[in-house]
């Protein structure tokens, strides 16, 4: 690791709630977009109902709440490329990567647990 990287921290954002019923995913995404400007080693992992945040075809006009699912597609442009989804969470919800708006790396729970243990900071949303 070069000296310049000594202050780069590994920060993982954990999305575990369904979108819209609670604001956590939306405000979590706002946080990630700001943090992206700080050149840290960011990752985002979708676990449990968090995977629903990425589902295609969300149309929020009827509930009167601003949609934000497509903002996940902007993450790549901000160099947030480490997006992971938990395989069991997807399977339990009958979802495959094709159902999702963005490319995520599907990992099993052991792999995600190992990634968690490498982090300097974990922020739950």
């Amino acid at each position: 690791m070069s000296d310049a990287n000594n202050n780069v921290r590994k920060i993982m954002h954990v999305m575990r709630h369904a979108p819209h019923g609670k604001i956590y995913t939306y405000e979590g995404l706002e946080m990630i977009l700001i943090m992206a400007a700080y050149e840290q080693d960011l990752s985002v992992v979708f676990i449990g109902d968090g995977v629903f945040a990425l589902k295609k075809g969300q149309e929020t006009a009827g509930i009167g709440i601003k949609g934000f699912a497509k903002t996940f597609m902007a993450l790549e442009g901000y160099d947030v490329e480490k997006l992971y989804a938990d395989a069991d969470s997807l399977a339990e919800r009958g979802l495959t990567p094709d159902d999702l708006l963005v490319d995520v790396k599907v990992l099993d729970s052991y792999e995600i647990g190992a990634l968690m243990n490498e982090q300097d900071v974990i922020i739950p949303h």
């Binding site: 369904a18 609670k22 109902d49 629903f52 969300q58 949609g67 339990e92 919800r93």
Partner: protein, 97 residues
């Protein structure tokens, strides 16, 4: 008595608790994150089918749309806020929060 359920059954026991107290004939309405229960071919299809044998089941269409759910278990009726009010015209309400 109209029963409303607003929690995802994947993370929370509210739906299954409500089902234990349901009286035959009472309508059940899924709203907000509750609507994940009625996704067609989903994890809770057999629970929903069991309830449908004795009770009408509804889901709030704007909440289904917001969550990208375009197919629901057969027999579940999608309604708008207007239909929600119509159910309330005919029933007292038990909100399972």
């Amino acid at each position: 008595m109209l029963h409303t359920i607003n929690k995802s059954p994947f993370e929370n026991g509210t739906m299954l608790t409500c089902f234990r107290f349901l009286q035959p004939g009472d309508p059940v309405l899924f709203i907000e994150d509750g609507v994940y229960a009625v996704r067609s071919a989903g994890h809770y299809t057999s629970d929903i089918r069991d309830v449908l044998k004795t009770n009408p089941v509804y889901a709030l269409l704007p909440d289904l749309d917001a969550r990208g759910i375009d197919a629901v278990v057969e027999g579940v009726q999608s309604i708008d806020y207007d239909g929600f009010v119509e159910l309330v015209e005919h029933h007292q309400v038990n909100s399972w929060l």
